[in-house]
């Protein structure tokens, strides 16, 4: 065992990067669920975003264009979900599962000729002298732009939900869609927009994996991150800052246990591998002991009547 082989500064920086895909997908799903829609298709939208981003980034040579394409790809796929659940009034659970299966298949098809290619590298954000501060510099200011965009999305989502009329209407629709309808709010339109936002965020999360974390394209490379993001939203009691905490905790411990495995710690690998799940669940379950609860209309189909 050689713990000295772990560089704590690099480890923390890697933890933040590891958490970003989960964070992006989870904050999108949080908005969707606060609007009263349960979209289980996060995994499918992530992998679709991953392949769309990869293809465009390789062809244009620009990671930024790749991320834009990933957001569009995720949103377009989520539009299918919006059509099924909001227009055709299909069951949300079944539609979401179908979306995941569809996204996995579609992405394999699209990515066939891209296996084994290296994408263009995303540069660290030029923050000038900030990145040169010892210790804090590499940990906080040495990341690519998407890490900061993820953080900004969390802060933005929190502020919009708490302080703006748009956020209030969104919460109202998720809480009681019949009452919101009776007051004259366009339940389906608001939910469709929320679903699109969730799709775009999931797409960004997927592209972060294919363009920065790995970075290359392999089939099914999101490997369940979308499901973790879904679970995280529930354990975080639908609160943005808790999603951030949960994502960093999960990403951090995933990274830590990989490093520990690499350092040859005398704990069976299986225990290390399960540790992120256990720690994240325990912490968030303890946090959610307050009386917060799911949005009242979550997962229920809205039929306008009368």
């Amino acid at each position: 065992m050689d713990l000295s082989s772990i560089n704590p500064i690099l480890l923390i920086a890697a933890m933040i990067a590891a958490a970003t895909p989960i964070l992006l997908a989870a904050i999108g799903e949080l908005v969707v669920e606060r609007a009263g829609v349960l979209n289980l298709g996060v995994e499918g939208m992530m992998i679709t975003g991953a392949v769309c981003g990869f293809i465009i980034a390789v062809n244009t040579g620009s990671p930024a264009m790749g991320f834009v394409a990933a957001a569009v790809g995720g949103a377009v796929l989520s539009l299918l979900f919006a059509f099924l659940t909001q227009v055709a009034l299909a069951n949300q659970v079944a539609s979401g599962l179908a979306l995941t299966l569809f996204g996995l298949g579609l992405s394999s098809l699209m990515g066939q000729s891209y296996v084994g290619i290296k994408p263009p590298r995303a540069e660290a954000t030029p923050l000038g002298p900030l990145a040169d501060i010892p210790i804090i510099g590499p940990i906080i200011f040495g990341h690519d732009l998407m890490v900061y965009i993820g953080l900004a999305l969390v802060a933005g989502t929190w502020a919009v939900l708490k302080f703006t009329r748009m956020g209030l209407v969104l919460r109202a629709v998720g809480e009681n869609h019949d009452a919101a309808h009776a007051l004259g709010y366009k339940v389906k339109r608001i939910r469709t927009l929320a679903i699109l936002f969730g799709g775009a965020c999931a797409g960004l999360g997927g592209a972060y994996i294919s363009l920065i974390r790995v970075p290359q394209w392999t089939e099914g490379m999101t490997a369940g991150v979308g499901w973790i993001a879904l679970a995280l939203v529930v354990f975080a009691s639908w609160k943005p800052w808790r999603v951030l905490l949960g994502a960093y905790l999960f990403g951090g411990i995933t990274q830590l246990q990989l490093n520990l495995q690499g350092a040859g710690v005398a704990i069976p690998v299986e225990y290390l591998a399960m540790s992120p799940y256990i720690v994240t669940i325990i912490v968030l379950v303890i946090l959610s002991a307050d009386k917060s609860r799911a949005p009242g209309s979550l997962g229920r189909t809205f039929h306008a009547s009368g």
Partner: protein, 504 residues
């Protein structure tokens, strides 16, 4: 005086039913106008058209002499129409101020809004704190949220859909004071109710609907309640009558019942005790949300309680679940018809099976006897005048009143020894309500013990032998109904919330 709102020949048809047929009426500024009618008479459709939720097929609406055709509720609100819904359109997890902001077109910043809520609530004698979460409020307070939401927009016409069905007598008085004050300031009120005495006390004019048509108008002050009821029903009414009977042994006894509510917005039961004897109807009054649902759940066996708290003929029921209790003869009919008392998408036959299996012998060694079940469902349908094409129809296809008759009938026909009902006639029209009450009285006369939980005090006075009030999870000592007056009942109900401002 020129009318504020005039409706001319409004017609609205849904597939298979004409909800409104050539309805005309006029409301003057400051007038309190009652809209009367049975369930399904078309009152809701009419007000939904005024509020922009439904578009009329034919007919003209005019506001102050100008054409008025709101395309959605926002347009109606902009034109000065406010509506307080029968089933409150509130968001439990949001605060009072947030709920009110949602009902406004251009809400001011939260701090200004909170100040205005305080101001309006004081002016009209409706105390309410803007920061409280709506899920924690009583029914009367929730209604205040809706009323204040309307008042903040300075409405010219306020529509109130059955506003008093969930209020205590004192809260009703507060509400009436507020409405009279509004009327004096020139706000017209369209008041929907089937409580005729209230209409006589409050309203200046009344329009009576039956089968979607206007069948008459009257001045409520000069018309007897009975005459109005007969106009609504279109025939004379039978009042339920109890047959003379003596109270027998104690069948159900509850002692020191302590149960925490399973819901975050529920009410825990605290030290509830009562006995019910064979042949007796015990009425339990109180405003919804004071432990009624929890009490029914404990008695039906859905919610576990401690040993010795609930006994049937002296035997402890703590370990008996709902099915075991049904076998013993302790049956229950909960308040929520769709989803609790009946499974909405299952047929009436299947719903009859769900609670009738044990006592009616509809299942043997796990195999279901559908023929017998259909017979049982048909007995319920014919015995309780349930209007439906047949027992194969889904429960959700029945109107509220018909399904309620089915649900109560299903339990009554199983000849229970103890029957617990919650809100047996909620949202049911006068004729059906009378039939249900008569069935409960007949059941008691045959030697069963009936516990009737209801918010409708007139109903409890009519059917119960003894009365107790449930308030904040505590039950008052039961008292004989004969000789109780409204004032005493109001006090038993724990006084109203905010009685000190009853006279503004």
């Amino acid at each position: 005086m020129n009318p504020l709102l005039s409706l001319n020949g409004l017609t609205k048809a849904y597939p298979g039913v004409v909800a409104n047929d050539d309805v005309s009426l006029e409301i003057a500024p400051g007038e309190i106008h009652a809209l009367l009618g049975e369930n399904g008479a078309g009152k809701s459709t009419l007000v939904k058209m005024i509020y922009g939720l439904v578009k009329p097929d034919a007919g003209v609406m005019q506001m102050n002499g100008a054409g008025f055709a709101p395309v959605d509720p926002r347009a109606a609100r902009a034109a000065g129409v406010g509506m307080v819904f029968q089933h409150f359109s509130l968001f439990d997890a949001l605060s009072v101020a947030e709920n009110i902001a949602l009902g406004m077109e251009t809400p001011p910043p939260m701090r200004t809004l909170a100040a205005r809520i305080r101001e309006v609530s004081e002016t009209y004698g409706l105390p309410l704190s803007p920061d409280r979460v709506v899920g924690d409020l009583s029914a009367g307070e929730r209604q205040r949220v809706e009323i204040i939401r309307c008042l903040l927009q300075d409405p010219k016409l306020l529509i109130m859909d059955e506003p008093t069905s969930v209020l205590t007598p004192q809260e009703v008085e507060i509400l009436f004071e507020t409405l009279r004050k509004l009327s004096a300031e020139g706000t017209a009120i369209l008041y929907i109710s089937h409580k005729l005495e209230e209409i006589r006390a409050l309203c200046d004019a009344a329009t009576i609907l039956r089968g979607g048509k206007v069948v008459g108008t009257c001045v409520p002050r000069d018309t007897s309640a009975r005459a109005m009821a007969e106009m609504m029903v279109g025939s004379s009414l039978a009042t339920p009558k109890a047959a003379a009977h003596a109270a027998g042994n104690v069948l159900l006894s509850v002692t020191g019942l302590l149960v925490a509510s399973p819901s975050a917005f529920g009410m825990s039961l605290k030290d509830v005790s009562f006995d019910v004897r064979a042949g007796e109807v015990l009425g339990i009054g109180g405003v919804a949300g004071n432990g009624q649902d929890e009490l029914l759940a404990v008695l039906s066996g859905e919610l576990p309680c401690g040993p010795g708290m609930v006994r049937f003929k002296g035997d402890d029921l703590a370990k008996a679940g709902p099915e075991a209790r049904r076998g013993l003869g302790v049956l229950a009919a909960p308040e929520e018809r769709l989803g609790h008392a009946a499974a909405p998408n299952m047929s009436l036959t299947e719903n009859a099976m769900l609670t009738g299996a044990a006592r009616e012998g509809l299942a043997r060694r796990g195999m279901l006897d559908w023929r017998k079940t259909r017979d049982f469902a048909e007995r319920i349908i014919s015995g309780f005048d349930v209007r439906t094409p047949g027992p194969e129809n889904a429960a959700r296809s029945l109107s509220g009143g018909n399904l309620q008759k089915f649900v109560i009938g299903r339990e009554v026909l199983q000849k229970p020894e103890v029957l617990v009902v919650n809100q047996p006639t909620w949202g049911v029209d006068a004729a059906a309500a009378a039939a249900i009450r008569q069935a409960l009285l007949d059941l008691a006369a045959d030697g069963s013990a009936v516990v009737a939980i209801s918010q409708d005090l007139d109903e409890l006075m009519e059917i119960s032998d003894r009365f107790a009030a449930l308030n904040e999870g505590r039950l008052s000592a039961p008292r004989a109904t004969a000789g109780l007056d409204v004032e005493q009942i109001g006090l038993m109900l724990g006084g109203a919330h905010g009685m000190e401002v009853a006279h503004v």
